[in-house]
Each structure stands twice: as C-alpha cells, then as structure tokens.
Assembly symmetry: C2
Homo-oligomer: 192 residues x 2
DNA sequence: TCATTAAGTTTCGAGTCGATACTATATGAT
DNA sequence: ATCATATAGTATCGACTCGAAACTTAATGA
C-alpha cells in the first residue's frame, strides 16, 4: 500500500514524461501544451496571459515567453482588448486545436483512464475533486472551476444563464468553460 | 463534474507550484527534492543515478547535473560501487534528510490529504493505484513498486524474506522500500 | 584480445522560471 | 484636470532543466 502523495507524485511523473514526449514530437515543451489546453477550455473572460499565469502557477514573465513561442509556431494569435488597451486576448488557432486533439488521442494516460470502468471513474473523480478543493483552499490558490459551479452563476430559466459578476448572458456552452473569476459555492451537495 | 485528466492536471499544477515554492526556499529546484525523496525511499539496489533517471523519467545527463547540485549543497554524497567500478552509489546525508522532513511538514498538500478522512483516503488510494498500474502498463514504464509487492519477493518464514533476483536476504525494512527491479505480481488480490 | 555494452560525465542549444526593471494604459484621489 | 498608483504585459539576466550527442571508464563475452 503506497501513500497518496507518492501515488500522486508517480502519476505526475508518468504524466509529465508522457507530456514531454508528446509535446516534444511537435517541437514544444510540456508547458506549451498546457497553455493550449487551457485556451481550449477557458471562457471569454479568461483567455489572457494573466489568467494563464494564475492557472498554471507561473509568473507573467514566463507566460510571456511561452506565448511568444506559441505565436511563432502559429498555434495561437494575439489581439489587444478593445475596452482595455493593456490586456491581450489570445485565440487558439486551428493548427493549435489540431495539435491538441492529436496529442490527446495518442495519450496512454487517457487510455488508462478509459480502462477504468464507469464506477471506478466516478468514485476516483469524486475523491480527486475533494482533495483538490482542500489543497486549493489550504494553498490559497484560485479554484478555476467551470462557470456552472460558480457562486456567481445565475439560472434565468430554461437554457438561459447569467454571470453575476459581469451581468452578461451565458450560453449552455459558456456554462461549461473554465473561468478565472470562479468561486466555489459554499459546499452544498458536494461530499465533504 | 470535471474530467479525471483535468483533475490530475490541476493537482499536478498545485503540487508543482507548492514544490517550487518549498524547494525554492532552500535554493533548489523541484526535481532536486524529487531526487532526495526517492533516495529516502529506495532500497540498496536502487540508489544509483541510472535508477533515479528511470524513476523520474529523465536522461542520465540530466540526472548527472541534478546530482552535482545536490552534492555541492552537501545534501547527498557519492561513492563508487565496490563490485562494479562504473556504478555510483548515492547516500542521502543528514542535511538532505532534514530538508525533506521540513518540506513535508510544511506541505499544504499533505495537510489536504490529512483532512480527507480514513475511508475517503483508502478508496482514493485504491483508485489511484489501479490507474497508475494501467498507465504504467500502457506506457511500458517501470512500475517501481515496493519490494513486498514484487513477483520476486520470497517469504522464508516469520520476518525473514528473500529477493528472488539477487538471492540476498531482506529485512522487514527492506521489504517496504522502492526497488528498480520491481515487477508487479500478476493481479492477485488488487481490485480491477 | 578485442568488440560490445553499460554507467556516468560533459557540453551544447533551446527553453523554463523567478526576479527585476521597464513601457503603456487605466483608475482614483485630490 | 493632474498626478500618484495600480495593472497588463514585455525584455533581460542568471541558474537550472532537459534531450542529444560525444566521450571516458569499466565490465562482459566471443
């Protein structure tokens, strides 16, 4: 019986090694793939270098460098925000999207999860979720959840939603995307 | 409900950020701590640069560099093997051991796991173990388990054990240490 | 004895990463 | 309106990782 920290570390090593290999086959570093994956999952408020830095736990300097590489490789494009001239908006280009799906389809880790059986998957997901929430709370790090699970998420009725922070309407698709502004709802249904 | 790969990735980011901070406070990189932790857990057959490389999924060149740093910082010492002049044996020095325990005691992730409750912990450990085994099998990577769970582990009777590969006797302590030569036993008790 | 293999080291180039200094745009208090 | 301050991002530096390749030394085997 191995301890949980050791298991997580092992899993992280395997994941990292796999990521290095898959990213390397495209001439990239693991972080670059992490950035692409984030951009594929985040909502329209969260596609900025600053948000990436918070999501990946790195500084703006590092993010700036990484983005430069991705831009050079035509995987991502920059455009500056219309309202605030300081902020840069990042767009995942087709080449980036294709790269991501290729990588995901070749990932043995993904396959390993698929081999797990639905029950095992859902209990594992539950355990990991609680652990992650705990760790994030103790580390005082952002939760970065999906819109739907945020305390500012308002259901207007039917398939109409609204963000309590910006007041903007949200589509069904919006509601499943990752947001920087995400705040967990005070544990309602989730097991403790 | 977030997907398992995403949960693992989030957990890895939090762990990595935490590790960077804790390692950084000692003037080290995360990898250095990983090496120290491995040396604290491995058995007498497995304290070589080559084994570290396999355990951490990096090349011998990289390991050589990292070990050089650890040696410079007096956290680890080298001595060459008596039987085989090519192999280097690494010893974790007191300063290294102390650093490790300080880091572990300050880790919010450790605390988060502690907050989990015994039942949640054991089901989580089970899920992670199966997932890890699957991933390792698919990645054709070494399992690196503890002696006790190896297919070459022989129980002689009482507290006397033996390694089927080297033929050497193993103590109780030996049997709980990580080994490079580890091979999983063909799934006997472990749940699928 | 000589080729081959294995364990480590060294060096190189691209890149991460934290730190720091910097630019440019927004915001807020007087 | 002005000026201090905060925020988003960029640029540069030094220590380090990492893969690759060349190299050294020691073991192994035909």
């Amino acid at each position: 019986m191995t301890s949980i920290p050791e298991l997580i570390q092992r899993l992280a090593v395997v994941t990292q090694a796999e990521s290095r290999q898959l990213a390397g086959s495209a001439g990239l570093q693991p972080v670059h793939v992490d950035v692409l994956r984030y951009l594929a999952r985040c909502n329209r408020y969260s596609n900025t270098p600053a948000a990436i830095g918070q999501f990946l736990g790195s500084t703006k300097g590092t993010v700036s460098q990484s983005v430069k590489v991705l831009e050079r490789e035509k995987l991502v494009s920059k455009l500056s925000d219309a309202k605030d001239g300081r902020v840069v908006r990042l767009r995942l280009l087709k080449k980036g999207r294709d790269l991501l799906s290729r990588i995901d389809s070749e990932s043995p880790m993904q396959a390993a999860i698929g081999n797990l059986g639905p029950d095992a998957q859902s209990t594992l997901a539950d355990g990991l979720t609680t652990l992650l929430r705990n760790a994030q709370r103790l580390n005082a790090s952002k939760t970065f959840g999906v819109c739907k699970t945020c305390c500012h998420f308002r259901r207007l009725g039917g398939n109409e939603f609204q963000c309590g922070v910006t007041g903007e309407p949200l589509s069904v698709d919006d509601s499943t995307r990752i947001c920087v502004e995400h705040e967990s709802r005070p544990a309602s249904v989730a097991g403790d």
